[in-house]
């Protein structure tokens, strides 16, 4: 990881950029037609999902291959609370993240005994068990049809209001995660990523930190899932399928998995590309595959990581000359 040399000045530019983006996002429903508002909502919640994955992937160094389990589980929990339980949306919305966190905790406790790729493979197989259960349990989850037309309260039934709700929740979650990354807990997590052995030596309980981080990631993935229910009013078993998880994984990589906002950028690129390319051709997956290959070969630190490297070089080189 490269450290940002420029300090305060750079912080100010970052703040301005964030403010401009925030203003744009706030005014978006007034500027763009309805379809783009829906697309922006999907981008935001997918970005939240990718950021929650990056919390354990980029900052924790844990290869969580099947992150969408928690996303799907959160969405199903919310949807089932609304349709089968008949609870109010707010209770259902709370249930999504809680189920995500509980599932995240259970899977983490089982998988954390292993490390790196072995962890990932075990996690992907346990996640597939959840998928297969959802896929087969027709009477409860609706099987491969999923659940459609989930009722929403009047307050959230229009695209604009659900967009603002998504925007608000996403920003809130991102701020909480950012604070966590900068907290002592976040530093410990990054220490574990860089050198698990030494972290253990200085008294950090590696496994416990990883379990806590994975539970938190599961929680925020559950938030993203519940948001999907609010925006799209549907759930379907493909939300828990492993190929979606790997797509989210590559979103993190594309945006820059050592940067905080990288996954959000990656999600924006991939979701909007998917929307526009699939209007031209049915061979969208091929385009996606080619993009992924390009990223893997030429941008291993992602777009934001690349920009950060260039910026640091630009800032460091003049100072050396002086």
């Amino acid at each position: 990881m490269t450290k940002n040399i420029s300090g305060e000045k750079d912080n100010r530019t970052a703040l301005i950029v964030c403010a401009v983006i925030g203003l744009f996002l706030f005014l978006l429903p007034a500027l763009l037609p309805r379809f783009y508002v829906y697309l922006a909502s999907i981008i935001l919640l997918t970005g939240l999902l990718a950021t929650s994955l990056n919390f354990v992937l980029g900052y924790g160094g844990v290869f969580q291959f099947h992150h969408c389990v928690f996303y799907g589980a959160g969405a199903y929990a919310t949807a089932l609370m609304l349709t089968k339980g008949g609870f109010s949306l707010w209770l259902g919305f709370l249930m999504g993240p809680i189920v995500g966190a509980i599932l995240g905790f259970i899977l983490a406790v089982i998988c954390v005994r292993l490390s790196k790729l072995y962890f990932g493979m075990l996690q992907i197989s346990l996640g597939s068990l959840v998928w297969v259960t959802v896929y087969r349990w027709y009477s409860f989850t609706g099987g491969d049809d999923g659940i459609h037309g989930i009722p929403m309260p009047d307050l959230l039934s229009s695209p604009n209001s659900s967009y603002y709700f998504t925007l608000l929740v996403t920003i809130l979650c991102l701020v909480i995660m950012f604070i966590m990354v900068k907290s002592p807990f976040g530093s410990a997590l990054q220490g574990i990523r860089d050198n698990p052995g030494r972290s253990e030596m200085i008294g950090i309980n590696v496994k416990r930190h990883q379990v806590v981080a994975l539970t938190i990631a599961g929680f925020f993935a559950g938030v993203a899932g519940a948001l999907f229910v609010v925006v799209d009013n549907t759930v379907f078993p493909d939300m828990l399928f492993w190929s979606l998880s790997l797509e989210v994984f590559i979103m993190c990589l594309l945006g820059g998995w050592f940067t905080f906002l990288g996954p959000m950028l990656g999600a924006a690129v991939i979701v909007s590309l998917r929307t526009f390319v699939s209007t031209f051709t049915v061979y969208w997956a091929m385009v996606l595959g080619i993009i992924f290959m390009f990223v893997i070969f030429f941008l291993p630190t992602g777009v934001l990581g690349y920009i950060e490297e260039k910026l640091n070089k630009m800032i460091i080189e003049p100072t050396i000359k002086e």
Partner: protein, 299 residues
């Protein structure tokens, strides 16, 4: 035999063995996956796509030879070779440049190639179902288990599994390339230092593994309708088998396939609706007690 029939009725025994014959194909694919994992350390997600390509290719080859028995036997020989050639191309053009990098990148690269392969299959063969006829020689039934007719093709599959296992074991343990590849898995630099071209050793191991995926595809084609998306379910099952068996262990893959297949066919007998959940549950039970798999892993 009478004693066994008293415990398990012959009809059920027959059903279990038909289920196991399907598992044979899983084993053949999983053993290739395991080989690649053990030597190259690549969790090859594109393996499922190669299996699917194998199934589609065997459809084309069988049709080119008139769609009869000859077509099937030719496809059984030519399909694995064609898939092997394809895998050689992707290994030389893409994978070999990433061996020095983190294995995570290799995994994602195989995922990217599986996406591209999936669409290529759609482009070449279209989205319709395809079917390959069972050859005359293997059509019909044989009386087995107290006279219950057992489909001959499934019996053929049940024999093919162990044959592949023994052949693979002989290649890995008794031939020179097998010995070199095992050495390269342990210490790549040392093998290079004694004057062996490790890059080509890896390539040949990758090709042998992918050849098995193609063989699995050719064998499965007459029993199922060949369709898009058959790669996605298979690859996950093959991964589970490899994980419970121990990464890189061929006998582990056989054991894992047996556990997987038995729990699946017994599960369907006990609880038809949720039969598919049983093998996953079996995997979890195994992993709770032995997180690194039943047999010794080469990792």
């Amino acid at each position: 035999m009478e004693f066994i029939y008293a415990v398990i009725p012959p009809q059920i025994l027959c059903q279990i063995f038909v289920g196991l014959s399907r598992t044979t194909i899983l084993f053949i694919v999983a053993s290739g996956l395991s080989l690649i994992l053990g030597v190259l350390r690549i969790p090859n997600i594109a393996h499922g796509s190669l299996y699917m390509i194998g199934a589609f290719m065997s459809f084309t080859i069988a049709k080119a030879f008139g769609g009869g028995s000859l077509g099937f036997w030719m496809s059984l020989i030519l399909t694995p070779m064609a898939v092997a050639l394809l895998s050689l191309i992707i290994e030389r053009c893409l994978f070999q440049f990433l061996y020095e990098r983190e294995h995570l990148m290799l995994l994602l690269l195989t995922f990217a190639s599986s996406l591209i392969f999936g669409d290529l299959v759609k482009l070449v063969w279209g989205a319709e179902y395809k079917s390959v006829p069972v050859p005359n020689l293997l059509q019909g039934f044989v009386p087995l288990f107290g006279g219950i007719p057992f489909p001959l093709y499934n019996l053929f599959l049940l024999i093919a599994g162990p044959v592949v296992a023994v052949a693979l074991w002989l290649i890995v343990n008794k031939t020179k390339i097998g010995k070199i590849s095992r050495a390269a898995a342990v210490d790549r630099e040392m093998v290079g230092a004694v004057g062996i071209n490790v890059s080509w050793v890896f390539a040949s191991v990758f090709v042998i593994g992918c050849l098995l995926a193609g063989l699995g595809g050719a064998l499965v084609a007459p029993t199922v309708s060949v369709t898009l998306g058959m790669d996605h379910t298979l690859i996950m099952e093959a991964f589970l088998i490899v994980i419970i068996g121990g990464l890189g262990n061929i006998w582990g893959a056989l054991l894992g396939a047996l556990i997987f297949g038995l729990s699946q066919s017994l599960g369907i007998l006990i609880w038809p609706k949720f039969g598919i959940v049983f093998p996953y549950a079996a995997v979890i039970v195994v992993l709770l007690f032995r997180p690194t798999g039943l047999l010794k892993s080469t990792w």
